[in-house]
Amino acid sequence: MTATDLTDERLRPTSGARGAATALLDRVRAGELGMVPVMAGLLVICVVLQILNPIFLSSTNLVNLLMECVPVGIIALGIVCVLLVGQIDLSVGSISGLCAAITAILFVKEGWPAWLAVLVSLAAGAAIGLLYGQIFNRIGIPTFVITLAGLLSFLGLQLKTLGAIGSINLPFDSGLVEFAQLRFVPAWLSYVFVLLAAGALFVAGFRHAVKRRAANLSARSLRFLLVRSCVLAAGLGFAAWYLNRTRGIGWMFVLFVALALALHYALTSTKWGKAMYAVGGNVEAARRAGINVRLIYVSAFTICTTLAAFGGILGAARLAAANQASGGGDVNLNAIAAAVIGGTSLFGGRGTAFAAVLGMLVIQAISSGLTLLSLDSSYRFLVTGVVLLLAVGVDSLARRTRASHGRG
């Protein structure tokens, strides 16, 4: 008996070798490959950078690269949330700087335990998001302006908080700094993680397939599931082995991946996540479906500002200092760019948690790759721009095909 979801006569067959090939071709041409093109872009620039400088893909450098992704990457996770609902946050830099300052003051000057200082800073971050949500819901000021005002105000508060001190060292031997600089996953544990990940993917896929078959729906074959898990295990295993040749995988990076996975789960497998996409896709339709649109906005802002605070704290921990420049520079731009490069739409309704991770990897790879070349500032800027276009161009060409197939 044909599965319920495969009965329509117009569906072209996807089973059998021939069918599978056609289906793959269809998907390539329709640009439905999700993250694959971004990964291809990443690969392209890695190859280019490796050719330019053979140290780029060295284990040591990759270990650094992964660690350096984390602070802004975590901020980018939050940006994905606000972009998903069709809004923006220009103030993540200031918030990260302010919360880094609060943590440093409470921890170093006031002598609070680190966990409490961090908690209070995160709460401050969350409070800002709540405030944004209220202003947006009640007065309706565009978030561009609200968060621009936030950018300025919280920079002011950051300066005020640091006050006469200006710059505060976080002790190198504190847990916070060690976590951000020196704590790596033991090799054996990293392989355990790899196996766990592959195993979990298989088990989840298998149970899902069983359930679908029981409901007479089409399901993935056991072979596909096995191959997929093995490929994952092999890929991750190789990466782990390569990184373990030097210092290995930082716990801070593990934390980043864990946060991304958690956000991915929340966005794809909860009622809240569906509401986020709905609000971003068509806010009036979401409202008419009875979704509490205001609450969704507030949640998006709060997650964003809380993660901005968290990113700021980790950034300070990695630098072992909080100062007036914390969160300045291109933190804002890079966080938003990471989300967009990963495929999140500025117009809302399209994006994933992994977009932030991949986009951040692209940015960091470019930055790190060029760092290893002794270039003049002028050339460095120039090349960064060009390589960025190159990386994103691959993805855009794939999407372009989709658009010409009539899928906005």
């Binding site: 140290i55 060295s58 040591t60 450098n61 650094n64 660690m67 350096e68 602070p71 170093v108 000057k109 002598g111 300066l159 006469a164 001190i165 200006g166 710059s167 505060i168 060292n169 002790p171 190198f172 951000a180 600089q181 020196l182 210092r247 950034g315 990695r318 630098l319 072992a320 200092a321 100062n323 007036q324 420049a325 914390s326 300045g328 520079g329 291109d330 930055s367 790190s368 760092t371 290893l372 002794s374 500032s377 002028s378």
Partner: protein, 332 residues
């Protein structure tokens, strides 16, 4: 026109104090309050109008214009961009308001006075101190150079000064980097990359200010690599602590109080309608230049105890640094 330039006794004059950015902490924390305090002391009825241009020359021009609209009697300015500040001098002098260049010179348009220690000299001093140390310890390997922002004219001067010490030293310059916006995380990332690139070859790092210096140190610690001597500049609190703990090799203390006091005195003279004479002439401008002091572990105790030094020993020697302070005889 609120009578700018009209003569007044200078007893209730408004004086503009225009600083360039907030990226380095000194302007907000030291220059402005010290200048204001001195001015109050000289003339209790005078008012100091402090502005910071946040590294934007156009903004600084706007600030100067609105100072003129308010009828200030003198402008003390640390230009964001020395070339662009020529316009400000032009506008002010056009309205009979004297301009005192502070910290950074205005070579293209003759200001009425110039008070400073010069940035090129600062670059030279920190770099030379490091080079001397490396030679003394017979260190092998080369030097990394972490410059300031590529879009900041003052950073360019410091960079020039550093080169004037490093280039003839015989030590190899491994690589150098202009840190966009003076941002410490950028400096940290770059140094991390160089540690990978030149394993065990980095004998010392010249960083153009304390922010980038701290970032350099964090990069070595995070890489688990041996920390070479690292310079700084500004003698900010966190840097003094790092010098005490031995993480940072040197920083430089600018006698900000002395310079701020001198500037206030000169500005007050101008406001009264006088024309104070220069101690020397630079860029065709009557000038007074002060020499900054390089601070290392060797002289930090002395520097900290100097009267008028901006940072209090008790702030530096917190619990974390108690032991190291005691070692240096710094017990508050």
């Amino acid at each position: 026109g609120s009578g700018a330039g009209a003569s007044g006794g200078g007893s209730d004059a408004k004086i503009a104090f225009l600083m360039p950015d907030i990226a380095s902490t000194r302007y907000e924390l030291f220059d402005a309050p010290l200048f204001t305090a001195k001015m109050k002391e000289l003339c209790s009825g005078c008012e100091v109008l402090y502005q910071n241009a946040a590294a934007d020359p156009a903004k600084q021009q706007q600030q100067a214009n609105s100072m003129l609209a308010q009828g200030v009697k003198a402008i003390v300015i640390d230009p964001v961009d020395s070339a662009a500040a020529a316009s400000i001098v032009q506008a002010a002098q056009g309205q009979g308001v004297p301009v005192i260049a502070y910290d950074r010179p205005i070579p293209d348009k003759k200001a009425d006075y110039y008070v400073s220690f010069d940035n090129e000299k600062i670059g030279k001093l920190i770099a030379q101190s490091l080079v001397d140390q490396l030679k003394a310890t017979k260190a092998t390997g080369g030097i990394l150079q972490v410059n300031g922002s590529p879009t900041d004219a003052a950073a360019g001067l410091i960079k020039k000064g550093i080169h004037s010490a490093v280039d003839p030293s015989g030590l190899k310059l491994l690589a150098e980097f202009d840190t966009p916006g003076w941002a410490p995380p950028k400096a940290q990332e770059w140094v991390s990359g160089q540690i990978t690139r030149f394993p065990n070859q980095i004998a010392g790092v010249v960083a153009a200010n304390d922010g980038t210096g701290g970032a350099t140190i964090a990069a070595f610690k995070a890489a688990g690599a041996k920390l070479p001597p690292v310079t700084g500049n500004d003698a900010e609190l966190a840097a003094l602590q790092r010098v005490i703990s031995g993480d940072q090799y040197n920083t430089i203390s600018k006698p900000i109080k002395i310079v701020a006091d001198a500037a206030a005195t000169i500005a007050h003279e101008f406001a009264k309608g006088n024309k104070p004479a220069g101690k020397t002439t630079l860029f065709d401008t009557p000038s007074e230049l002060f020499t900054p002091t390089v601070v290392t572990r060797d002289n930090i105790a002395k520097v900290l105890r100097e009267p008028g030094f901006a940072v209090k020993i008790s702030d530096v020697c917190t619990a974390e640094y108690k032991a190291a302070c005691t070692q240096l005889g710094l017990n508050s």
